[in-house]
Symmetry: C2
Subunit: 431 residues, 2 copies
C-alpha cells in the first residue's frame, strides 16, 4: 500500500497536491465505473470487518483529535460528535454492510423504447464520476460517504473538518487498505491531508477532474462552496419546517405529530420550527398543544392571536418566523385559512419539509400541490423525511436543491445515466 500523503507546505505545493488528487480520482473513477458489484460489496464487508476488528488504531487517532479539541474551541456538543467509541465503530460497520446489501445502482435500464425505425433506445444508470465531499466534525460520516460513493461506482475525495483529521486519516487508511486487498483502485477513496481552507478553493476549480461537490455543514460553508465551484454542487441548506393544523384536522393527531416533529430530535433539519394553526381550531388546539409542548420544555413565540390564547408565549418577530432554531423553541401563527398558511410557508419556508394535518381531501390536495418543498407530509411527522424512512436506504445528505437530487441523496442520486442505442445499421434521413 502507498504511504499516506503528507500535507503540502506552500501554496504551489497545495495547488499541485489538489490537482494530483483530482487526476488520481479521475483515473480511479474510470476503473470503478465498470467494476462488478460483488467486488464493491467485498470491499464494503471487508472494511466493516476492519472497523470492528482493528478499531484500536482508529480510537487512538480519535483520542488524539479529542485531546486537541479544546485548541479548536469545540463546544461539548461538537466534541461529542467528534468522539468515536467501539459502539459507534460497530454502527459504522453495520452501515457499510447495509450498503453492501442494497442493489447495485449502476447499469440498470431506467427506461427503454424501440423506435419505429427499429432503434432500441435504452436509458442506463451510470456513476457520476468523481465526487468531492466536504463535511464537518463527525468521523463516522467519512465511512458512510465512502461506502455510498464506491458502491455507486464513484471515486470520492473526502475533505473532513480539521478537528477530525487524525480520526479521518486512520479511517481512510483502513478503507484504502481494504481497496487494495479487494483489487479496487485505491484512489477510489482519497482524503485531503491538509486542513488548509485554501485546499477547498483549489479543488472546486478543478472541473475537469471533479464532477460534483457535496458540501455538508453550516450554511456559510455551503454558500462559499456554491459561490466558488465550477462544477455542480448538491446543496443541503437548512430546514425551516412547518406543521400546519388545518380547520379539518383531527386534533389528537395534530398534537401527536406536532410534539413528535418538534421534540423527538430538535437539533436536526427535519424537526419542526414553526406551527401554523387555522383560526377556527386555534381556540381549542393552541392551549392543549402549548401544555403538551411545555411538558417537553418547548419555548413558544407567537403572533398576537396566539398570545391571547397562550399568554406565556413570547411575541414572535420576523426573525422568529425565518429561524431554524434547532432547539426547543417554536414559532406559532394563527392563520385565517389554508391559503394564508401556504403563503406563509412560501415566504419563510426553506423548501425542506412541510406538513399539513387535515382530514379534508381538497385541503390536502391543494397543500401538497402548492407547497414547494422536497417533502410534503400529510398527517405524518416531518421527522420521517429521511432516506431510510422513505425506503431509499442510506443517504449522503438531504438535498434542498431542485436539480438532479431533491430530498434524500442516496445511491440512486449518486448516479447519472447514459443512452445506449442499438441498431442494425440505421442512418438518418433528411430532416
Amino acid at each position: 500500500m502507498r504511504m499516506h500523503e503528507t500535507a503540502p507546505n506552500s501554496t504551489n505545493d497545495l495547488v499541485a497536491y489538489c490537482q494530483n488528487l483530482g487526476r488520481r480520482a479521475r483515473i480511479a473513477a474510470r476503473q470503478l465505473a465498470t467494476i462488478r458489484g460483488d467486488r464493491k460489496n467485498d470491499w464494503l464487508r471487508r472494511a466493516a470487518d476492519g472497523l470492528e476488528n482493528r478499531g484500536d488504531d482508529i480510537l487512538q487517532a480519535n483520542a488524539h483529535d479529542l485531546d486537541l479539541a479544546g485548541q479548536f474551541g469545540l463546544s461539548s456538543a461538537l466534541t461529542d460528535r467528534l468522539q468515536l467509541t467501539p459502539e459507534r465503530l460497530r454502527a459504522a460497520a453495520a452501515g457499510l454492510r447495509e450498503i453492501a446489501a442494497l442493489p447495485d445502482p449502476v447499469g440498470r435500464v431506467l427506461d427503454s423504447s424501440v423506435r419505429p425505425n427499429g432503434l432500441q433506445v435504452d436509458k442506463v444508470s451510470v456513476p457520476l464520476g468523481v465526487i468531492l465531499f466536504i463535511y464537518e466534525s463527525r468521523p463516522n460520516v467519512t465511512v458512510d460517504a465512502a461506502g455510498l460513493c464506491v458502491k455507486s461506482g464513484n471515486a470520492i475525495i473526502l475533505r473532513g473538518g480539521k478537528e477530525a483529521l487524525h480520526s479521518n486519516e486512520a479511517l481512510h487508511g483502513l478503507l484504502q487498505e481494504c481497496l487494495g486487498e479487494t483489487g479496487l483502485p485505491i484512489d477510489a477513496v482519497q482524503l485531503v491531508a491538509s486542513g488548509d481552507r485554501a485546499a477547498v478553493d483549489h479543488l472546486v476549480h478543478l472541473d475537469s477532474f471533479i464532477d460534483v461537490v457535496i458540501p455538508r455543514g453550516g450554511e456559510s460553508l455551503i454558500r462559499r462552496v456554491a459561490g466558488e465551484a465550477r462544477m455542480p454542487v448538491i446543496k443541503h441548506y437548512r430546514g425551516n419546517c412547518h406543521v400546519y393544523v388545518d380547520a379539518a384536522a383531527d386534533l389528537n393527531t395534530a398534537e401527536r405529530i406536532l410534539v413528535n416533529a418538534k421534540c423527538q430530535r430538535p437539533g436536526v433539519c427535519n424537526a419542526a420550527e414553526s406551527l401554523l394553526v387555522h383560526e377556527v381550531v386555534a381556540e381549542v388546539f393552541l392551549p392543549r398543544a402549548a401544555a403538551a409542548l411545555r411538558q417537553c420544555g418547548v419555548e413558544l413565540r407567537g403572533c398576537p392571536a396566539t398570545r391571547r390564547l397562550v399568554p406565556e408565549a413570547a411575541p414572535a418577530t420576523e426573525e422568529d418566523y425565518a429561524a431554524e432554531y434547532l432547539d426547543l423553541i417554536l414559532s406559532v401563527k394563527v392563520v385565517a385559512n389554508l391559503e394564508e398558511a401556504i403563503d406563509h410557508i412560501t415566504r419563510y419556508g426553506s423548501q425542506h419539509t412541510e406538513c399539513i394535518v387535515t382530514n379534508d381531501l381538497p385541503a390536502a390536495r391543494r397543500f401538497t400541490a402548492a407547497v414547494d418543498a422536497a417533502a410534503v407530509m400529510v398527517n405524518a411527522s416531518t421527522r420521517f423525511h429521511d432516506g431510510h424512512e422513505f425506503g431509499l436506504g442510506a443517504e449522503i445528505g438531504i438535498s434542498t436543491d431542485k436539480l438532479h437530487a431533491r430530498g434524500p441523496c442516496g445511491l440512486v442520486e449518486l448516479c447519472s445515466y447514459k443512452y445506449i442505442v442499438y441498431g442494425d445499421g440505421q442512418v438518418r434521413g433528411e430532416a
Copy 2:
C-alpha cells in the same frame, strides 16, 4: 395587456430591471405550477394559430433585424439563421402544437412505496420553477423554448441575441398576448429587452428568483455563464463525436454509418468529427471509406498508418483529434484494438455521442460500458442523438452535463420532483 418593457439606460436601472424580471418570474412560476394542463395546451395552440395568422408583424420585425445584420457583422450563415419566413413560422407553429399533444410532465407519480408503518411515499414530478434561457440568433428558438417551459409549468426569462431583438420582441409580444387571453400569468414568458451583456451577469446572480440557467450557444458563452452563475447551469458543450469501426464490423454498415454521421448535416453537434479504425480492417476499409467520403467532399486528416493507406489524407495533429470541425473535415486514426479506441475517445471525446460498428457482442458490451458519453450508439449513426429520434419529443438542448439532465433535455428534464407522504398520524420513534 401590459406595454412592452423598454430597455433600461443606466447600470442601476439595469440591476433593478433584472431583479424585477426575476421577481415577476417567481410569482408567475408559483401560479403556473398548479395550473391545469388543458389551459397550458390552449395557450400553445392559440400561440400556434397566432404565428400562422398574424405573422406579418413578426416578419416585419425580422426584416428590421435583417437590415441591421450587416451592422453586427453577421456572416451569411448567421444571417440565414436569423431570417424568418412564412414557412419557418409555420414550422414553429407545428412545434407548439406538437408540444401541446405531449403528455403533461407535471404531477406524475414517478415512484411510490408503502412503508411498513403504513406511510405512502410518492415521488411526484413538479416544475423546476424559473428558467433563464440564453441563446443566440435563431428567433424560432424563442418559440420552442417558451413552449417547452410553460408546458412543463416553468416561467422562462428569454435572453436572445441582440441581432434578433426585434424579432424576439414581436414573438414575445404574441406569446404574452396569448398568455393573457388564456388566463395564464403573462410573466410566465418574459424577454430581456436589453442587449447589454451586463444583463446576463446580473441575472445569473439572482439565485433567489431563478432556479436554473440554460445557455445555448458558443463554448465561451457557456463557460462565462457557468463561471458566474450562482444557480445550477445545464450546459450544452461541443460534440467531438467518434465512429469506431471494430475488427468485427460489417464494412458495408460501417461505410453507410460513417458517411451519414459525417455528411448528412456536418454543422451540428451530433455529426462525426473523427474516425477510428481497427488495424485488422484498416487496409480494406480505409480506401473504400475514403472514396465514399471524397464523393461527399470530405477532407481527411490522418495518422501515419492512415496516410499509408489513403495517400491524399493530410497529417492529423493533436488539434485535429481534439477539434469539433462542424465542417466537411474528418480526422482518422488506426488503432491496435478496442481498448486503444476507448482510450482515444476518453482523451479527446467530449462525452456527447460515440459510435461503435461491430457484430461482436463482447466488444459492443465493453464499448458501451467503458465509453463515458451522453449517448453511445451501436451500429447506428451518431446523428440519431436527438430528442425526437429518441422518442422523447421536442428538446431545449442536448446536455453534456452528468447531473440532472444528460443528452436530450425535453419536458421531463425541465421538471424536478417532490416527495408527497400520506400518513394516518404516524410519528417517528427513537432512532
